[in-house]
Symmetry: C2
Subunit: 478 residues, 2 copies
């Protein structure tokens, strides 16, 4: 008796993750196509004074859109007993609406393909990056800005429970967004669908392959892709994929296979799920995070001048105002505030084989915009400090990561933050495989987790931060 | 080969849940003992004016302790697109510190016993109820009030990961507390331990049996007990317990056995865990909850007079000030603000056998103090309205619950809210088994879940509200 596993979501995701080329554009063709798009796109971004912003006003101590929609730049005062700084002020993006980050998927030749859009965002390092099928704030799709209705929106609004493969709320950058979340959703359709210009069908393996390059896959794609788990495949499914030579058992000893095993096994964990919950409970019970709104014009250590809000020491980031002209976006000309970082950051996971299974050194990290005090973060996350400075040793594992031998580096590239809010912000993403001499003992607030355990926490609200998810999305099994 | 399952936490919990009498006091003796304690306790509570409160002040628009610790009564303005009321003001308890609600357990004759305290709280309907071993706010155990250090605190502060059986953050009443949570923790010790006056060792089955009576088991005990899952017992453990006649297979058809099966089975769910997450994601993406502090003295529709803060129409609840004299509590005389409800409420789960497994009709409910917009609540939860009024039909399933035949009622009793904050607040707790004619179709924002699925969500942060947990804690398998 032949069992049809194609009705199993996990089986389909896994098959797509092992399918190195789809039936439409090859990965090479996608790279060329993006390059081509990038060359022909017209983008002109100019810094302007806040007073030159159209439809944006400084009012009630914040920078807000006259409609009251989209987002605002607020000031906050932060108090915490975490870390060395007990209190600080900063600007933060306040965007309480939950937006859609959604993929339409469809089976072609028995393999799930994802519909991606070559999308221009003003802040992107490459202006054109691959985004999910739908990337829309509630203001977008309720058409506050009178632009066109986002393409494919109706598929998500009308999706039935059986069409929805995944549907989770996931957080944005906690240092920059005040408790912002997006709805990360993947739906599967059976019917014919029109593929508009700038859209392309890719397998999951192709998307992950493109993540090996700098700044081709945007943050929104990465967060949605990170939510796809592989742990609920039955043994029979794995055997079936193996028999069909989708999974090649000859590669059992490669590091990629070790990641695969870490993603599906529920055994040989160093810590049980209950232990990890206890670890988190203890931290959330010990540390406080108090955030109160404060007038942008009276933030301690910050200067609000005509065209910038920046720190007196110019550290971390500044708020700027820009005039944007873009060729092929829904609204081709507009002004908006943006966040510009002072320098690029570094996000790295250190992984190590423990009890025969790859474990990730995960850090509990407090960021002021977190909904719930801490989220699980990469081993190293220096987003806003200059990690090249001489204080490197103050950040645990930073030296280790920066001095890793190339044979131990699985991932090392630059990836952009969301280009609609951040101006040319990119961070170095790294995954390092530690040698045996790397200690199993971690500092307080760090814990070892398998990939399967990370996926377990990922599917519940607000456990893994966006930097951790971005790194997880890049893990490919082939 | 005989496997020793006693090292498995789940096995131990299950065995204790099936052990109708412990080796110390019988359940009957506990009831008599509580009665006796109640009769001899000296409690004198008098309403006073706010100005007569000692060490409490009205300052910055709130009622606060002069130390800045314990809790404050704040005013809030609430805006939401959920339900019929788009905006309202109300007082709320603000207590940002996470407190301990903890049980010490120990094996006696191979069965796990829980150490409970007969504890007096000023607001309790019976002054003396059974509380966890430790019930302490951070202010308590950092000894702000100069009282005695809480008994057994050091066991929890020094607990090693292997001693910790359960350790979760769980929410308090979302209509009364602003994002308040407690650390629900159960530890197991091996060593001899001194049992102080007013403490008693009971099995899990005894605790659940005592919950059949009105107001004997306090809210803090109920929330910690609710976190004990049974779903991770292996088939071998169940066979072992069955062979040892701990689980009696002759009762397969009783309703209690159906609850047991619903708690352990992961099959025949009407909805997958992923479907339930999608259900929650959709609601959290659709509904907004904006809460801002507002001066207690300027709350719309509320009157702040000398000795009460009450609504103009006297609905819902009022804030009062009381003078407390208690015989055998750490601090024997003090004053404090309290919350007094206008009338008792009703919390009820309707359960129905679907696909051969009991499912619970669960409601997603927005309450203004929720950390994350909605939590999963009982089928019916009318805490603050007069459910006996003629608007009963406006609340889904309320008529059904109030008119249930006694043969369909598994649980029906009165249980108290936390007696340290609430003055004589009790709610009717009910679990109803629906007949086949009860429709499988539920209104929007309701979903069917098995007990095993409820336990899955319960262990992650802030999914089940305290009323749902209180009901779950009362489910006994014998």
């Amino acid at each position: 008796m032949k069992i049809d596993f194609n009705s199993h979501i996990s089986y389909q995701f896994l098959k797509s993750a092992f399918c190195s080329e789809g039936i439409f554009k090859s990965t090479k063709q996608v790279i060329d196509w993006l390059q081509e798009q990038n060359e022909k796109v017209h983008v002109n971004i100019q810094n302007i004074a806040f007073s030159e912003l159209k439809n944006w006003v400084v009012q009630d101590g914040r920078i807000k859109h006259v409609s009251g929609k989209f987002f605002s730049i607020d000031g906050i005062n932060v108090k915490t007993n975490w870390g060395n700084v007990a209190e600080w002020d900063q600007p933060i993006i306040n965007q309480p609406e939950v937006g859609f980050l959604g993929f339409i998927t469809k089976e072609f030749d028995g393999v799930l393909h994802f519909l991606l859009q070559a999308k221009i965002e003003p802040g992107n390092v490459n202006y054109v990056q691959l985004s999910p099928t739908l990337q829309a704030t509630r203001s977008n799709y309720t058409q506050v800005h009178q632009g066109n209705k986002p393409k494919y929106l109706e598929y998500f609004q009308q999706a039935t429970p059986t069409q929805i493969l995944l549907d989770q709320l996931q957080s944005e950058q906690g240092a920059r967004f005040l408790r912002k979340r997006n709805r990360n959703i993947i739906i599967k359709i059976e019917e014919e669908i029109e593929v508009f210009d700038n859209f392309v069908w890719l397998t999951l393996a192709q998307i992950k392959h493109l993540m090996l390059y700098d700044n081709l896959i945007n943050m929104d794609t990465r967060t949605v892709i990170s939510t796809i788990p592989f742990g609920n495949c039955s043994h029979e499914m794995l055997v079936s994929l193996s028999n069909a030579q989708v999974i090649n058992h000859d590669v059992t000893n490669t590091i990629k296979t070790q990641f695969f095993i870490s993603s599906i096994t529920t055994e040989n964990n160093l810590h049980s799920t209950e232990d990890i919950i206890s670890f988190i409970t203890n931290i959330k019970s010990t540390y406080d995070l108090f955030v109160e709104r404060k007038d942008l014009r009276s933030l301690n250590q910050w200067v609000f001048d005509k065209s910038e809000i920046h720190r007196e020491d110019n550290k971390f980031f500044k708020v700027i105002a820009v005039n944007v002209e873009i060729g092929n976006r829904e609204v081709v000309h507009w002004t908006q505030p943006m966040i510009q970082p002072s320098q690029e950051g570094l996000c790295a996971f250190v992984c190590k084989k423990i009890n025969g299974v790859l474990h990730f050194a995960v850090q509990a990290k407090l960021e002021c915009g977190n909904l719930d005090i801490i989220e699980l973060a990469p081993t190293v996350q220096c987003l806003t400090g200059d990690y090249r400075g001489n204080k490197a040793t103050a950040v645990p594992f930073l030296d280790y990561v920066l001095n890793a031998q190339s044979s131990n580096i699985l991932v090392d590239n630059l990836q952009s933050e969301e280009g609609g809010r951040f101006f040319k912000e990119q961070n170095r993403n790294m995954i390092i495989i530690a040698d045996d001499e790397f200690s199993n003992q971690l500092p307080a607030n760090y814990i070892w987790m398998t990939l399967n355990q990370l996926y377990t926490f990922l599917k519940f609200n607000n456990y893994l931060n966006i930097q951790a998810r971005s790194l997880i999305s890049a893990i490919s099994f082939i």
